[in-house]
């Protein structure tokens, strides 16, 4: 399955009703990422909120603290493997398959313009939503947040999991610093996903109850035209787009 990525794009991604947006690797990466993310949050947050009685109950549901600790570590290694898979996937695509580098994901000043345009629209100062290209600023934020968040949460988690090993090379304060970084970064990630990601991909008009494109790889032309008009025009052409 080929997918929309670069300019000029192959017309083969434009199907009769849909446009192919993600390939199977991306679909798998997203599924593994969100499953491990949910498992990590469910097994990790009770430790952050250890004095809530619901945490005690929830840990017991899983079969005790030792079980949640084991599951948390396994899920963490799977998530890290998933991210390495993603990096290999990009490297393989660009180096071995000689596809062009996915530059559309790189943040640009245009994203800030779009953000301000969108705020103007939300506040009612403008009637027009910004015209997004392949990825809007939220999608880029979601994506790049992992490049910051996964190293922070992964390294701090590693420090907490193997403190004796780590303090053979690093100063002792790294351990209490890691617990703070790990917990706060977790709150940050969970809040962002629950508030922004869920709102715009599940609750926003036209997407309720779920934007399925990340699971099917395809997005209907209709939605593509509304959500990613710049890319849509490039792919389908303005004439057809206006209908």
């Amino acid at each position: 399955m080929e997918r929309v990525e670069t300019v000029p794009v192959s017309k083969s991604v434009v199907l009769e009703k849909d446009i192919v947006r993600f390939d199977k690797h991306q679909i798998i990466q997203h599924i593994v990422l969100f499953v491990t993310f949910i498992v990590l949050a469910l097994t990790g947050l009770p430790l952050k909120f250890h004095d809530w009685s619901v945490s005690q109950w929830w840990i017991d549901v899983w079969g005790g603290i030792e079980t949640t600790r084991a599951i948390h570590r396994i899920a963490a290694y799977i998530m890290i493997a998933d991210c390495i898979y993603h990096l290999f996937y990009i490297g393989f695509n660009t180096i071995a398959l000689k596809r062009s580098f996915p530059t559309k994901m790189i943040p640009s000043p245009g994203d800030f313009k779009n953000l301000f345009q969108e705020i103007k629209y939300f506040l009612g100062f403008s009637k027009e939503r910004p015209k997004f290209d392949r990825f809007n600023w939220r999608e880029k934020f979601d994506y790049w947040a992992i490049f910051w968040g996964l190293p922070v949460i992964g390294i701090s988690g590693f420090i907490m999991a193997y403190p004796v090993f780590v303090t053979k090379f690093l100063p002792g304060w790294i351990v209490p610093a890691a617990i703070i970084a790990h917990g706060d970064e977790a709150i940050l990630a969970v809040s962002w996903i629950l508030i922004v990601h869920f709102f715009f991909n599940h609750l926003s008009p036209g997407n309720f109850p779920l934007n399925k494109s990340i699971f099917t790889g395809k997005l209907s032309k209709e939605r593509y035209r509304k959500d990613h008009p710049l890319e849509y025009e490039r792919l389908v052409g303005t004439e057809e787009g206006k209908e």
Partner: protein, 299 residues
């Protein structure tokens, strides 16, 4: 055949009823029937100066007490009615020590025991830790889940005194030891773990500070005095732990610019980051929600 089945079923019923009725009933040994008088809550002795002393012994306590199978007169000497004064903290510890000699000796050398010998009434002695009501008739065996000395309950037992800020301040202990323990890896693991002893292989107060032989933290003999001693203590569980590992412990203190400045600034940085990103998230979703709400959820 049917008759036999009925008899069998009836037999099971009677056995079940019987086991329910006797279940959990362990009566304390009361060879001299002391409880026939001392089981009365109103039994008091009026001293010559008019003060009253309750002579009531709660049978319920005795029945679950670790000493339920030794008779009253083992501790209350053979003619208990001749004893005039009730026991005080010092004589009570001595009394326990008449059998538990080793523990008594260790306690005498501990900071609690040293202070006890000086007549300090604040300190913990045998019953303060071994009985939930500081009552010698209510001493519970260490491995029973409701014992104050059961691993899962130890932090709360120490906290009876050590989270009393006023009392602790008078000894110069300003660190909130209980709160900081409960926030630590060990505290969370103990709190969220079950009561199964196999789940309680985490350190609590006594694993670092000692039990009967507990010392002041600045006593060179204390297992937590100085990074070297502390590292050896950590190593009891964390195989290969070194001095750097031990230094990762902030001494029951909050991180501050003076105490572990890096940790303090890490905390501030992550708080600022999380707070700003989450506020941004709330604002953007709030704005979008209002806009689309006023559009009646159309685009």
């Amino acid at each position: 055949m049917r008759k036999w089945l009925l008899i069998l079923a009836g037999g099971f019923l009677v056995a079940a009823l019987f086991s329910v009725l006797i279940f959990g009933r362990t009566n304390a040994l009361d060879q001299n029937r002391c409880l026939s008088c001392h089981g009365d809550p109103n039994l008091v002795r009026i001293n010559r100066d008019g003060t009253k002393i309750s002579l009531y012994v709660k049978e319920e306590f005795l029945n679950t007490s670790s000493h339920r199978f030794i008779d009253c007169t083992t501790c209350h000497d053979s003619d208990p009615h001749k004893v005039i004064t009730p026991l005080d903290k010092v004589s009570l510890a001595e009394k326990c020590g008449s059998c538990h000699k080793y523990q008594y000796e260790l306690h005498r050398q501990s900071i609690h025991g040293e202070q006890l010998a000086l007549g300090n009434p604040d300190v913990a002695t045998c019953v303060d830790c071994h009985s939930p009501t500081s009552n010698p008739h209510n001493v519970i065996r260490v491995l029973e889940y409701n014992a104050p000395t059961y691993k899962k309950n130890i932090a709360q037992t120490c906290a009876k005194c050590h989270s009393n800020e006023e009392l602790m301040a008078s000894y110069g202990i300003v660190e909130k030891v209980y709160d900081s323990y409960m926030r630590s890896f060990h505290g969370k693991a103990i709190q969220l773990g079950t009561y199964e002893i196999s789940q309680l292989d985490k350190a609590t107060c006594i694993n670092c500070h000692g039990t009967h032989d507990i010392k002041r933290v600045d006593d060179p003999n204390s297992p937590v005095a100085g990074a070297e001693n502390l590292a050896k203590t950590c190593e009891q569980c964390h195989e290969g732990a070194g001095v750097e590992f031990a230094k990762g412990f902030l001494g029951h203190k909050e991180a501050s610019p003076k105490n572990s400045a890096v940790v303090f600034f890490t905390e501030k940085f992550f708080f600022a980051l999380t707070a700003s990103v989450v506020s941004f998230a709330v604002v953007i979703v709030g704005m979008a929600g209002i806009r689309w709400g006023s559009n009646r959820w159309k685009e």
